[in-house]
């Protein structure tokens, strides 16, 4: 056994309870090597899959890269695709940091979008300096409310957040059907996809890349809001007492309670903050891209966000990089489908492989730790 040779750095004091697999999945240690490796493994598995379906994986991946980064326009589009993933990724990540599993970023984003879209058209006449903050606050507030419900139910009634978030994701979809098909927000002249009335000009996030630089770029000021959110996430978690407490709750709620931190209060707070991030993402989609709320838009951001947060190790920089990677998948995937005749859904398959590898990695580490933790008496003396 190789463990025998290891110096016995672990004394009796290290008899801390083994971290659960869930904690390991959420907070995997080490540098960027393991995330990169898991993406590489997922890409190889994806290539095998393309081969099995009788296509050329090299053609597939070169089309994917070409589509995502081939021209300056594509690069800006990749960033546009990454913006909502950054916000929902932060939403999932901050919940993970506190030991909660937020499957509800999807629903929180949609509520944020609906609230922002409602305010944007309701107060459409206001000038931008007034309207923009209002719309941002509605987006964040809507998401925070929706996330807060989850935290409250968990804190007060002990309801598992996985169940509530799944249910609330579907609830808002049904509510949107009503709002946008035959409800108070329905646009009278909407043809095709049901939608809300357009938001006012002052609620639109402007395109920040001039036409002389990149023609017809859609890269809007939402990227600045997303960047601000990333900085806020970092500042909140690592530079404020609240952030310290949130991370303490995530590392072990019983120990945190011993230290006088009230886990229940923090559950509500962290889920509201998580919802606020996702809600801002929804507001950015409405104000930056569509100018109104469409029924059934943004169907998979919240689920991709789980992969983004896990791959980014719940760190601000990691979330941004993972979101850019998935944004490249999304935008490049469309090009791959039209130019290499390979369904853009290959991208979803690769994403699911990434998740599997992450889950398996946590396992490997939990096994090795467990083995090291239980030395035989002889080894302990040595």
């Amino acid at each position: 056994m190789t463990q025998l040779q290891q110096p016995a750095t672990t004394g009796p004091g290290s008899e801390s309870p083994a971290p659960s697999v869930r904690q390991l999945t959420f907070q995997w240690a080490g540098g960027p090597a393991i995330p990169l490796l898991s993406v590489a493994i997922a890409l190889v598995l994806g290539a095998i899959f393309v081969l099995l379906s009788g296509k050329d994986p090299i053609a597939a991946y070169s089309a994917l890269i070409q589509g995502a980064f081939g021209t300056p326009y594509d690069i800006t589009e990749t960033i546009v695709s990454a913006i909502p993933l950054v916000l929902t990724g932060l939403s999932v990540a901050i919940a993970f940091r506190t030991g909660l599993f937020n499957i509800g970023a999807q629903g929180q984003l949609l509520v944020g979008a609906v609230c922002a879209g409602w305010a944007g058209s309701q107060f459409a006449g206001l000038p931008g300096v007034l309207l923009m903050p209002i719309v941002i606050l509605f987006g964040i507030g809507g998401g925070a409310f929706y996330g807060g419900i989850v935290g409250l139910l968990k804190a007060v009634r002990g309801v598992n957040e996985v169940i509530t978030t799944i249910m609330l994701n579907y609830t808002i979809v049904a509510v949107m059907h009503w709002l946008l098909q035959a409800g108070p927000m329905t646009a009278q002249n909407a043809l095709g996809t049901p939608a809300s009335t357009p938001i006012g000009a002052g609620a639109r996030l402007p395109v920040i890349v001039p036409n002389e630089l990149v023609l017809f770029s859609r890269l809007h000021a939402g990227v600045l809001l997303a960047a601000a959110a990333v900085v806020l996430f970092w500042f909140l978690l690592w530079r404020t007492p609240l952030g310290y407490q949130l991370r303490a709750v995530g590392l072990g709620s019983r120990a945190a309670a011993q230290a006088g931190i009230d886990p229940a209060r923090h559950m509500v707070l962290v889920m509201a903050i998580a919802g606020g991030f996702a809600g801002l993402g929804g507001m950015i989609e409405v104000s930056g891209l569509f100018g109104r709320v469409y029924d059934g838009f943004a169907s998979s951001y919240g689920f991709d966000a789980i992969a983004v947060a896990l791959l980014g190790k719940n760190s601000p920089v990691g979330v941004v990089l993972a979101a850019l990677l998935f944004g490249a998948f999304v935008h490049g995937g469309a090009y791959m489908q039209s130019h290499a005749a390979i369904s853009s859904n290959l991208v979803a398959i690769i994403q699911s492989f990434v998740l599997f590898v992450i889950a398996a990695e946590a396992l490997v580490r939990s096994l090795t730790r467990r083995r090291r933790r239980t030395p035989k008496p002889v080894e302990a003396i040595a």
Partner: protein
């Protein structure tokens, strides 16, 4: 609005039709969670069941082979989940999410590669309807249950069988013991991992039947993501039905009735106000949240639900 919109035979027939796939997924949920494994990949099993059932029907033109292939596909997804959550003891929610994304990506990918943008062939064999001749004379029942699809009856049968199995047989008792207190179960010689494997596999097969019913029984075709979250509604029905087969059926019927109403009340008005039928779609989710929070009865999961189990002396 008329009483016909609420209680007409057509509404009742639609309720059963819409409840059946939810109930099948919910039965799967009951079996797996009673054994202590959370399986949110029921949606994935359903979707691959729906898709590969159609592919097999297209290739073999035999409905029985198609059903078999559908169940096999659902089993395969469940096997992956069982391996990840029982053998590897990895996070069951992450594994389930990965499988849901995989199933959606895989079926949409293969649908595009096999059938392009034209869709699945129109003349596929389907699951037969059961025409109950002796009911055809009766005015109400004849229309409500006289012509239901065979899978609806299979579902009803499975509810009874599973209810008896779980609560009236020794293997059923063992399965529940494993979900409540695996350590105690193992102490009396029950193979915890084996029972959990069987339960997760069974849940995949049941969900796949629900998916096959949607594609082979109702639509006679496959469209991308056609299960539309019914696996998740099945989980809701399981919770609302307090983790019992009969309860899950009752919950599925309530949800199915809500769905049926949203069709029959389309365009109906109270005074001048149009009935917001779309909001009926929120019924399953809100009822479930209320049930879990203890506002509508108290819905308590099996004690060891979702917790990986480490065999004594294994580490």
């Amino acid at each position: 609005m008329t009483a016909e919109m609420f209680l007409g035979a057509a509404v009742l027939a639609a309720m059963l039709r819409l409840a059946a796939p939810i109930a099948l997924a919910a039965l799967g949920g009951v079996v797996t969670e009673r054994s202590g494994v959370t399986n949110i990949a029921l949606e994935a099993s359903m979707l691959v069941g729906a898709f590969f059932g159609i592919v097999a029907a297209d290739r073999t033109r035999n409905i029985w082979i198609a059903i078999g292939v559908a169940v096999l596909a659902g089993l395969l997804v469940a096997l992956l989940h069982a391996y990840a959550s029982i053998t590897l003891r990895s996070d069951q929610i992450v594994s389930g999410m990965a499988l849901n994304i995989l199933a959606l990506g895989l079926t949409t990918y293969l649908d595009y590669q096999l059938y392009g943008t034209t869709g699945t062939p129109p003349d596929l064999p389907g699951l037969p309807d059961v025409h109950l001749g002796f009911l055809s004379g009766l005015p109400y029942l004849g229309e409500a249950i006289g012509g239901q699809n065979s899978m609806v009856w299979v579902m009803a049968l499975l509810v009874v069988v599973l209810q008896l199995f779980l609560f009236r047989t020794v293997p059923g008792l063992r399965l529940r013991a494993v979900g409540e207190h695996p350590r105690a179960a193992e102490t009396v010689g029950i193979d915890v991992r084996r029972i959990r494997y069987v339960a997760v596999l069974a849940s995949g097969a049941l969900a796949a039947l629900g998916g096959a019913y949607l594609s082979l029984g109702v639509a006679h075709s496959f469209t991308d993501g056609m299960t539309g979250g019914r696996g998740f509604i099945g989980l809701a029905a399981m919770i609302f039905g307090r983790w019992t087969p009969v309860g899950a059926l009752a919950a599925s019927l309530i949800f199915g009735y809500g769905n049926a109403l949203s069709t029959s009340l389309q365009g109906a008005t109270i005074g001048d106000v149009r009935v917001p039928v779309q909001l009926l779609g929120t019924l399953p989710y809100i009822l479930t949240i209320l049930a879990v929070a203890g506002f509508v009865g108290r819905s308590r999961p099996p004690a060891a639900d979702g917790q990986p189990y480490e065999i004594e002396g294994h580490a």
